[in-house]
Symmetry: C2
Subunit: 264 residues, 2 copies
């Protein structure tokens, strides 16, 4: 039986269902976090909850439970799932509401949902630089984990149609920003760089820990520089995945660090 945690209760996923009027569904009016779980521990949990709270504050969505209530709920879900290594997803939406973009004076009953699945490591990916869409560096949403993953989905559709399995996205200024599901680190002339937050990226929790671990520099990444990349990997809170090629050009598919040194 697959279990979820919805508005404070652990439920069978088949029973726990979302209102047709939930603004998470109708308008992508919400945010989420994905949390790596290993041996009963929820990695970087307080940082995840802080980031969720900051994103919710920007969107003026109240978080309906305290951090300790959320932690207890997630812990209960994790234990009852029986999974040793899991990906926990915590989603907050503005909840069900009357029709319209911003109905004035509408009471807010946010939806807080956690789902859980086995943690899957990805094999090294063939990446392409997507031409179908770009990250919006002008939108605050590009810097938080909004529900709106349509551009990433379009880029992934393009990657698949080009025989690849991951897409790198440009930002609106035409520089390389990130991958469809995480930040990127690129090795150039033997040194590691990653695009800065202002480039329209989500500043990931893994990224923040990798910068000191690798001595990486935050710097904008031109397409020409990407073409000279000696290595590239994608990071997020669940895992890091090396690219074995970019637009067909082979790269050594090794990570420059031991994941056990990062995810702890």
């Amino acid at each position: 039986v697959s279990l979820v945690w919805l508005n404070g209760e652990v439920l069978d996923a088949a029973e726990a269902r979302i209102s047709v009027a939930d603004r998470g569904l109708t308008l992508a009016d919400g945010v989420f976090e994905t949390i790596r779980c290993e041996g009963g521990a929820m990695l970087w949990l307080s940082a995840h909850l802080r980031r969720l709270a900051e994103a919710a504050a920007l969107l003026r969505i109240p978080v309906p439970l305290s951090d300790s209530e959320v932690e207890a709920g997630l812990a209960a879900l994790l234990v009852r799932s029986g999974l040793a290594r899991a990906a926990l997803r915590l989603t907050l939406t503005r909840g069900p509401a009357a029709r319209g973009l911003w109905p004035p004076g509408e009471p807010i009953h946010p939806t807080l949902l956690a789902t859980i699945a086995p943690l899957a490591e990805r094999a090294p990916v063939r990446a392409v630089l997507a031409g179908s869409t770009r990250r919006n560096a002008h939108s605050p949403l590009s810097r938080l984990k909004s529900l709106a993953y349509g551009d990433a989905i379009l880029a992934r559709i393009e990657a698949e149609s080009r025989g690849a399995d991951e897409a790198l996205l440009l930002n609106t200024a035409g520089r390389v920003a990130c991958a469809s599901i995480g930040n990127i680190f690129v090795c150039l002339d033997g040194a590691w760089i990653t695009p800065p937050a202002e480039e329209g990226i989500l500043p990931g929790l893994a990224r923040a820990r990798l910068i000191p671990l690798l001595g990486a520099k935050e710097q904008p990444l031109a397409v020409e520089a990407l073409r000279r990349a000696e290595r590239l990997f994608v990071s997020n809170s669940l895992s890091c995945t090396p690219a074995r090629s970019i637009d067909g050009g082979d790269l050594p598919p090794q990570l420059p660090f031991d994941p056990a040194a990062l995810y702890r």
Copy 2:
């Protein structure tokens, strides 16, 4: 009792619920249309269904029912709602799926949902030019009715905090693109203009009909030109709403046409 039409059935809204794994909820992986209904008729229905099908094709979401099946379902919902004037919303998502942005080989069971509400006319609005975010003219999603309305929500939050009730959005090039919930028409030197599709706007069905009705020209709209606007109104498939001010500068709040000549 509020009714909805979900995957081919008319249901009580309280019973018709969405899976916690629906990609419309988790990733904004879907599109929608809003349809004006009056006296039992669904206005511009075939154009709405064509636009939905085109957007779905771009996102590779199969439409699970034929146009005539959809029309019959929407008509049944409209009749059973008892509403003489209604806003029908038709939403298509990729449906429930396993975790992840693009799980390979995942079977697709799309969700097709219609909801209905009384059609509300909006009083003339106080508009502001939003500084908090911009439309992404580089993304194909800006030209279709994706579920991702976060930028519009941010802009509307800004409008409210500035004592207004509608927001005009710049595109990533810094030109005026549209309002939070529709296209804009601006009167400059006595002539009507509206930004072209390439400016990162959703090319609306009302807009397509208003261009010949007003003899409007499609042309990019600089902020300086907006400052000289003699009139402005917002159009969408449900209604047209004049602005009575832009950033506090008063405008005559009249539409330059009879809505009955448009919505028919």
